[in-house]
Amino acid sequence: MNHPDPDRSLAKNFCEETLGMLDRVEPLVRELVRSGGKQGDAAATLERCFSLAHSLQGSAAFLRYDHLAKVAAAAEQFAAGLRSSSAPVEASHLLLLHDVCTLFRQGIELVRQTGGDDQLAVAAAELAARLLPAEREPTPGPDDDGDLEGFIGQVDGLMQVVERELLLWDLTSVDPGRLAELIDCLEELTALFAHRRYTDLERICRAMANVLRRFHGGEVFQGEYPDKVFLGLVDVLYEGIDAIAAGGDGIILRVEEHLETLQAIMRQPIGELLIRAGLVDPRTVEQALRIQEQARARKKTPKRLGDLLVAMGEVSSEQVDRAIRAGRACPVPSRSGDRQGDRDSDGAVLPVRNGVAAAAGTVAVDREKLQRLLEHLARLEKYRPGMEAPLQELVNGLLRQAEEMATQVR
């Protein structure tokens, strides 16, 4: 399309005007959110939200800020629906409007910093879908009873895109547009499988989309090769699809196991862990995140946040490792029931040992780190002869246990 050139003065005007409107609308939305809709004039606020979305949609579409325009169009429709409805505005609606304001502000910041809103792709698609959930429905969906061939063809087409993007993970992971396309495909697959009630396949696709969305939101993968986990799931999906094509029911064996594997590749954002540990302040993390964003904008793979903070001299590698260990999921004693203990699989109460239920017979530990710990312990061996008796006894015990664990690990 031959749009007018989005020159600097127009872009500047657009940013200033939108920020001005946001400054007027946001406090009103926030007040309604805080009071659960009890304080403030809901009707007037909705009207302002509508006007904000309307103005932003028109200008953003002309200036080719397509992701902002997409959310603005959805928000305009959403606000118009609320405005014309006789039902009271619910808290969830207000929160959505608040999210819209937040995304608009992020978008304006991106336009100012990068000259475009490409990096908003995933967040915008997600928010637009939340504003207008009906748009997520697959179109056209095959009938439940017939057109299996058409359904398989539709699914295959989407699966090919998913597989291609995962095979090109090094490119996809740093390109918000490609990542958005991948997530869109997975969401479409989710809807297609849901439509035909292939629940296992639906759950896997939804989980993949969710994990990818979290990745785009700044969370990091625990392992070095998340694409291998995803590609493993693609194989699982293909097996299920092949089974459906052959007249099967699409049930996936060990689906819970597959989902757990997927969830396990995510961990809490390292920035959050470091802030919580008091090792860095939020501003420093924001600065590092900006550096990562800039790298992505230049289509380069950014340094991992922890490595970046180490490079910035804010923390040491050891501190990052410690924070990751502390944040990693580990078994927590159940709070349900009394303090005497947890229940085993048959429901029997188990004794408490040092505050942790004895039922925790197996725990998830990092294999490599355990190996290193065992190696450190093994080094104690050569110092044992010079130790005093009580210490020697303690070391003997440690080494015996280490030997047992080492055997299991190897």
Binding site: M1, P4, N13, F50, H54, G58, A61, F62
Partner: protein
């Protein structure tokens, strides 16, 4: 003869964008006036020599529909052609605008070519 145009939109960015599209459309436009809502637009129409109006629909104080309704009651300005500028979600309201005298509509985002196609016959 060059035609004078009035742009009515509460967004100053939109007014600038539309103004630029008009200049790029290759039509013979003279002065381009601006108004932020229907009330301001009526004021400009009473004072200036305007040949064509391009108006948004959703505006504060007086929206595009109210503007059309009010304009149709004023003899001095009621025959000035008005084009509505709409968004995808404003389709249903265009019908109402046309019933109140709007002669056409442009859907955002439009190109200079589209401006030329729609406004050309009125030049």
């Amino acid at each position: 003869m060059a035609k004078n145009v009035l742009l009515v939109d509460d967004s100053s960015t939109m007014r600038k964008i539309v103004s630029r599209s008009l200049r790029q459309a290759g039509l013979d436009f003279g002065d381009i006036f601006e108004a932020g809502d229907g009330l301001e637009a009526l004021d400009v129409l009473e004072k200036e020599n305007v040949d064509i109006v391009l108006s948004d629909i959703n505006m504060p104080n007086m929206n595009g529909i109210e503007f059309l309704r009010e304009k149709s009651t004023r003899d001095a300005i009621k025959d000035i052609p008005v084009f509505m500028i709409s968004t995808e979600t404003g389709d249903d309201i265009i019908g109402e605008a046309k019933s109140l005298g709007a002669v056409g509509a442009l859907k955002k985002p439009f190109t200079p070519d589209k401006v030329s196609e729609v406004l050309g016959p009125f030049m």
